[in-house]
């Protein structure tokens, strides 16, 4: 493939990579650093990549692995906040029609990274279930049940069902 074609293909994925990186890091600068690391790695390892159809999952896989290895440990804002200090969601059951946008992101932040990524990769990045399984390195047979669990957790956080377990006992 010509270099110019390759660049254009990669370039086309940058907005989506930034979106995923931002959802993971919740920090604009860190997200762009993450994307930059991802692109540098992709360019230097292009010879390991075969075929154009799998480019998008490949880039997302690289980005997520960098995040897990380098960023997840200490750089993500709020990563080490004790559970009882995590802010309680503001939406109560029955208010589902008026969900505050920020609350979904805030609730998402409180999920384990693999749940977060699965929700993002399927719901926002619109990967197929099997592509999402590949990116997350999980058996494709388990994607649907994981997705169901992830979305249930998110919903419970938003609807306040899980609050009694998260609040400090007084």
């Amino acid at each position: 493939m010509a270099k110019a074609d390759r660049d254009e293909l990669i370039e086309g994925e940058i907005p989506a990579l930034r979106r995923y990186a931002y959802a993971l890091t919740r920090d604009h600068e860190a997200a762009d650093d993450l994307v930059q690391d991802c692109l540098e790695r992709a360019l230097s390892r292009w010879h390991l990549h075969r075929g154009a159809d799998a480019l998008r999952p490949w880039l997302f896989t690289i980005l997520r692995n960098i995040f897990i290895n380098a960023y997840h440990a200490g750089r993500r804002r709020g990563a080490s906040v004790p559970l009882e200090e995590a802010p309680a969601p503001a939406v109560s059951p029955g208010q589902e029609g008026a969900l505050d946008v920020k609350d979904v992101m805030a609730a998402l932040d409180r999920l384990p990274e693999d749940y977060r990524s699965l929700i993002l990769l399927v719901g926002v990045e619109e990967f197929s279930y099997s592509e999402a399984a590949d990116i997350l390195a999980i058996p494709s047979g388990t994607v649907m049940s994981r997705l169901a669990r992830a979305r249930r957790k998110l919903r419970e956080l938003l609807e306040g069902e899980a609050i009694p377990f998260l609040r400090r006992v007084k």
């Binding site: 660049d7 931002y22 762009d32 930059q36 979904v104 169901a148 979305r151």
Partner: protein, 270 residues
């Protein structure tokens, strides 16, 4: 393939949330949800949450891409780095070739081909040298532990502690005179620092410590106003650190390299 009698599963419901359900299952799921209004309401909320999430992240997606993330910028960055890298490598090979006669360093090629572990060892030497430099060159009262007036004693002592014969290189050709030296802790045993000063009061340090790896070309490391050139040779790491630009530091490092060359391997043309 699921038949019409396959019970509704979680996978059907998640695919329904995502709007990806297969045609033949859609009617079945709809029928099921008509009978289970609570499940329908739950799926509806989950679908809404996905929409909100997508909406929240839309602005990020639509934001103009910063220039530094353009593939061309990243490519240029890589090229710039590798060009800088190659220049440093070429300079190191050149000065070794000038000084070494035998050409064995040239034969090993540029440092870019060296294993990462050996480069890491050379970088550890640079960092140890830089830390020691920062600590002691600013020292007014006790820049050295043993002064140049006791040079023989100093070098015998340091040689013994490091386990290799050391002599203080003569850097008078560059305007630097020996002030003295000190023993320092290092990851593997001890390190030695020799300090020199020129007429203008600028200080330069040589740093020696036992190190893994046999041999590298020069590695350049800059921290603020100070530069270090470090290399590994014969199981030791060496570094020359001074508030000088790389080009000014190179001939000094070359002289130090020759001064520390093991007896017998000197080419005699230096």
């Amino acid at each position: 393939m699921k038949g019409p009698h396959t019970p509704i599963g979680e996978d059907d419901l998640q695919a329904y949330v995502d709007g990806r359900i297969a045609q033949d299952r859609f009617a079945l799921v709809e029928t099921y949800l008509d009978e289970q209004p609570e499940v329908r309401a739950r799926l509806e909320r989950e679908r809404r949450q996905v929409e909100v999430l997508r909406e929240q992240l839309r602005a990020k997606f639509e934001e103009p891409v910063p220039a530094r993330l353009r593939v061309s910028s990243i490519r240029a960055g890589r090229r710039r780095r590798s060009r800088g890298w190659m220049r440093a490598a070429a300079a190191a090979v050149l000065i070794f070739a000038l000084g070494c006669g035998s050409g064995w360093v040239l034969g090993r090629g540029a440092p870019i081909a060296l294993p990462a572990a050996r480069l890491a060892a050379a970088d550890a030497v640079s960092q140890g040298a830089m830390a020691a430099y920062r600590t002691y060159v600013v020292e007014v009262a006790h820049p050295v532990e043993v002064g140049a007036e006791h040079e023989k004693h100093l070098m015998t002592w340091l040689s013994k502690r490091l386990g290799r014969p050391l002599e203080a290189p003569d850097l008078s050709a560059f305007g630097y005179a020996l002030m003295g030296g000190r023993l320092l802790p290092a990851r593997r045993g001890a390190a030695a620092q020799l300090m020199y000063e020129n007429a203008g009061g600028e200080r330069l340090t040589l740093y020696v410590q036992a190190s893994d790896g046999t041999q590298t070309a020069f590695r350049f490391f800059r921290d603020g106003d100070a530069s270090t050139l470090a290399w590994l040779d014969q199981g030791f790491g060496f570094a020359v650190t001074a508030p000088l630009a790389r080009n000014a530091l190179l001939p000094i490092a070359e002289a130090v390299y020759h001064a520390f060359e093991p007896a017998g391997s000197a080419s005699g043309n230096g």
